[in-house]
Amino acid sequence: MSTLRFMADNFDEVMFLSWEHIWIVGVALLIATPIGVILGIVITKHEQLASRVLNGANILMTIPSIALFGLMLPVLAIVNMGLGKVPAVIALILYSQLPIIRNTYTAIKNVPPSLVDAARGMGMDTWRRLRELEIPLATPVIIAGLRTAAVMNIGIAAIATYIGAGGLGVYIQQGIARVYPEMILSGAILVSLLAIIVDGGMAMLERLATPEGIKVQRKLSR
């Protein structure tokens, strides 16, 4: 109850921090998506790059977020951006790559070879095949990758408060420092809530992006 009262008393601040949080994650995802999707598509056409790119994205993923912020700090300090939202957004972009690239790559690879063959045999060039066949069929899985990235980033963004990026992590960090349980809980609850809402929203998007013919196929094969 006291946590709820804390949120009610600081309503404006809650809204501001939530907005900041969404902003960081949103901007990161907006930039990460084209990079990841394009990389994912490129490596389906250049198989020799695939394992290298996927391994690279994998390694990025294993770096703890705090360590990554620390690593970027001296580099970005050169342009006077070692702290704040910029390093946070960059870190989130990097973390997003693995789920986005991997899902894009897998989804396009999973388009049945017979369909690709038919498309080639009828004289569709690579670009046409991507646009009319491979991407439409891959879209739901690509969005599933974005969904993973978004939910994961909402969590990681909470830690970005340590480099002064703001967001809901502020409540968690300051709450710990001040031994203020209501503040910690508010931060934690709001981050979780945000993650759940975004997850639900993306799930809906996934359904919307599924081509009608595939929906029919699924319904009939059930």
Partner: protein
Amino acid sequence: MITYESVTKIFGTGRDAVTALDNVSFTIPQGEIVVFLGPSGCGKTTTLRLTNRLETITRGNITIEDQNIMDMDAVELRQRLGYVIQAIGLFPNKTIAENIAVVPKLLGWDKERISKRIDDLLQMTNLEPELYRDRYPAELSGGQQQRVGVARGLAADPDILLMDEPFGAIDPINREEIQDEFLKLQAKLKKTVAFVSHDIHEAIKMGDRIAIFDRGRLVQYDTPEMILTQPKNKFVADFVGSDRALKVLGLMRVSDVINRRPKNIIRGGDNAKDALAFLDEKGFRYGIVIENDRPIGHVTPKTLKYENGPVRDLVEHYPLFLKERTSLRDVLSFMLMHDQVTFCALDENGRFAGTVTYNDIQKVVRESYADEAESGENEVSV
């Protein structure tokens, strides 16, 4: 016309190199269906895929209407050749109309022309346009999907159609039907068709000629009749099967062996005694009774004996009549089923056209295999 000239395809390099196609030369004439036949891995599919450059030739030339395919742009070449693969080749995210429209759209046809073409093609392949245009492939049965596949291959009205086991994924009953439909269509359209199959029955039925492949080599390129009656070697003989005499009969029609003027004709109004005398005199074992140009049955000396009256009351009726188009395979089957050595064929108006006897059938089979019987070669182990 498609000409294959010493075409060789090697997959891989160095020690991993596999020769998929070895120095193959033949020509597909304008307006004919040529079936590429053979067991899996024999090179038949590779030959087809070389034709639209889905694979690249290692050595040799393929020319289409005297134009070397390597001098053409691969994408343009493919748009010129209709391509039909098994039912799974329809794009699941596109409606039937959109699937058919793929190549016309690539060729930049305008909307109205495409839409009209879609309706024409659906009608041509026995699918109600109003009902199917906006459906998705998943909503159609296997046979219907394959019809759409054929329609899609024909969409831009190509002169040449490449078909890769197009009816392989359909159940036998529907396959027969769609094969018949395709043949009817082909009789009108007269496309030049390269048709890959592993099914000898399909090859005999569909092919004007059959190209039999074995381990990358073209073993025999001939008409179905020649393949069945004069297989070039043991491989071909084994592949077409030890029942190939029956398969030959499947290719022949009543009109090929019919006896249009049998001598053992008796009128329905004739007296039994006269008829008996006639049969005895000529030494016929039976007579065919005809009345008003229609065969009503047959009589034997046994049925006529001690009788006195018009023959028409004494005949044994035929269980069925043949048409000129009936295959000899079916005729032989009727003979076995009905214990009957003669059948009468009727013309379109139901009038007597002639007779087919067991001996006639035996004779054509014997003639077909005359060479083999004489030389004693090509013996097939059973």
